[in-house]
């Protein structure tokens, strides 16, 4: 458990400029992905006359609501490539952004509770190793050694039969990640414009040439959508559809506790994922609500289900108090993989569909999406994640590794 203090903050990390009448590119969505995209557009492609438009406050959507887990142990080559690239970026970003956002590589464990889980997990460990992703298979006693508070006895409904373990995985301070990107974007000349909601797009034929907002019209040569749960709403404004469904996804934290939980534990089968934040809260993620929802809240029985799983796996949590619960809107695809690439509208690009696991992908989403916006062509890492895969059938089925069932 890290014991070092959060860094002191200056009063302001970025400016709040008025929107200009025109930009070379506009990013819609000032969350982690939007900010990372703007950062890499400026840094890697020299595009500094750009704006990030955020309808609320910076990083106040899913970037403020996730459980901060970072890992890259996905099954398929395409996913392992993009998530592992993200993890490698996470490892260098604190230095590059000159901001310690407390990336703590305390490892992530994915528990197996059935014979099917065990087989699937061991297969995934093998696939990970072939893709250069650090992964191990742990027997129950090794699980207990790494995380002593886990109940590995066989007198529970779904006993722990082992786990995959990725030592380089971990957690980071999500707000600080956003602020780190925002500060660098600002330094590089990017306009970060909060309270600026996109209300429509201006097109010349099939080419986007401008964005209508509640703060006036902005002309732009290119538009990149990074709006997660609201991507469908924006796509509809622009005149195309996306194969995503928005669902509420909930999480909660306990009050502060002494360090008791040294790693990150995820269980697909009984469905809970738990880590302990640097300050001491137990951070737990639930499953998605089954229905479509934009309400940033879900049903209580989902929390109840998650708590039942948590208490069975971690008996010492039984008397911990919930401090608060919340929900975000996640943009799920049917193959549990993101969509990053071009759209049917010329000069409009989309980064969405990261669903329940977008935080970990932030740096790679930004890097590859910036490449696609700047060059109009896919980056080799996001090429398989193009919208066209739903027509070609080249789906990337990551339901096993995506951790949150949907």
């Amino acid at each position: 458990m890290s014991t070092h203090q959060l860094p002191e903050h200056p009063d302001f990390l970025w400016h709040n400029p008025e929107p200009k009448s025109s930009y070379d590119a506009v990013i819609v969505g000032g969350g982690g992905h939007g900010l990372a995209t703007a950062y890499f557009l400026a840094k890697n492609h020299g595009m500094t006359n750009i704006a990030v438009l955020e309808k609320g406050w910076l990083a106040g959507g899913n970037m403020a609501r996730n459980t901060t887990i970072i890992r890259s142990n996905y099954l398929w080559d395409e996913s392992a490539a993009i998530y592992e690239h993200a993890l490698k970026l996470w490892e260098i970003l604190p230095e590059e952004l000159e901001y310690d956002f407390l990336f703590s590589q305390r490892g992530v464990m994915n528990l197996a509770h059935t014979l099917g889980d065990v087989r699937e997990s061991i297969r995934r460990v093998g696939a990970n190793k072939l893709n250069g992703v650090d992964a191990e298979w742990l027997e129950p006693d090794q699980v207990k050694e790494l995380c002593p508070i886990l109940n590995i006895s066989d007198n529970i409904r779904y006993p722990v039969m082992g786990a995959t373990y990725q030592p380089r995985a971990g957690i980071a301070k999500h707000d600080h990640v956003a602020w780190a990107f925002a500060r660098k974007c600002d330094e590089l000349g990017v306009d970060i414009i909060q309270n600026c909601e996109v209300t429509g797009f201006i097109k010349d034929g099939n080419r986007v040439v401008g964005v209508k907002t509640n703060r006036g019209t902005i002309n732009t040569e290119k538009v990149g959508l990074c709006a997660a749960g609201h991507s469908s709403v924006l796509a509809e404004m622009a005149g195309f559809r996306l194969p995503i469904q928005s669902h509420p996804l909930q999480a909660l934290v306990s009050e502060l506790h002494e360090p008791v939980h040294p790693t990150v534990v995820m269980s697909n089968h009984v469905h809970v994922y738990v880590s302990q934040a640097h300050k001491g809260e137990l951070v737990m993620g639930a499953g998605v609500d089954s229905y479509n929802g934009y309400g940033q809240r879900g049903s209580f029985h989902v929390i109840e289900h998650q708590m039942a799983a948590a208490v069975e796996l971690f008996p010492i949590f039984a008397r911990a108090h919930v401090l608060r619960t919340w929900g975000g809107i996640v943009d799920t695809t049917l193959d549990a993989s993101p969509i990053v690439g071009t759209t049917p509208v010329e000069n409009m690009f989309v980064n969405c569909g990261w669903g329940t696991g977008g935080f970990k992908g932030t740096p790679a989403a930004g890097l590859t999406f910036a490449h696609t916006i700047a060059t109009g062509a896919p980056h080799k890492l996001n090429r398989p994640f193009a919208l066209e895969r739903f027509e070609t059938g080249a789906l990337i089925d990551e339901h096993g590794a995506a951790a949150v069932a949907h």
Binding site: V233, R241, P243, Q245, S290, Y291, N292, G295, L334, F390
Partner: protein, 140 residues
């Protein structure tokens, strides 16, 4: 927790139900004539409406029957419950029904009559934007 009015069983907790996604998506009338784009639309593309959404629910631990529901995806208010095969009720439902809770819809539908707000002048969401259409009352 939603309180959902099953047309057959009355108001029950959401946990008794299974969600079925967008309603009124018809199986392609001539599947052999669809190109890849149209198949993609049918298989993977569904409306993701922010606001009033027509969706299917299954009362899986009750009568095990499917039915349709209009629900606001922001407020989660249930606006109407209506049978499979029936057209989508007009969204301009009477104020009482619109502001109503699930139980309002229940009282109106458990009698077996049409759902509140059902009208012949409904918009035509029975067709998807891909242009795949099927006769009303076809498999929904």
């Amino acid at each position: 927790m939603l309180l959902i009015s099953c047309p057959n069983c009355g108001s029950r907790d959401e946990t008794e139900f299974h969600y079925g996604g967008q309603a009124h998506v018809s199986y392609p009338e001539n599947p052999n004539e669809l190109n890849d784009r149209e198949w993609a639309e049918y298989l993977f593309y569904r409306d993701n409406t922010k606001g009033t959404f027509a969706e299917r629910w299954l009362h899986s631990t009750g009568c095990r029957q499917w039915f349709n529901m209009l629900r606001d995806t922001v407020t989660y208010d249930i606006q109407a419950v209506y049978p499979m095969g029936a057209p989508r009720p007009s969204t301009a439902v009477p104020a009482a029904a619109e502001a109503g809770t699930a139980s309002v819809a229940a009282d109106s539908t458990t009698t077996g009559t049409t759902a509140p707000g059902t009208s012949a002048t409904s918009t035509s969401p029975g067709t998807t934007k891909s242009g795949i259409t099927a006769p009303e009352g076809a498999t929904k």
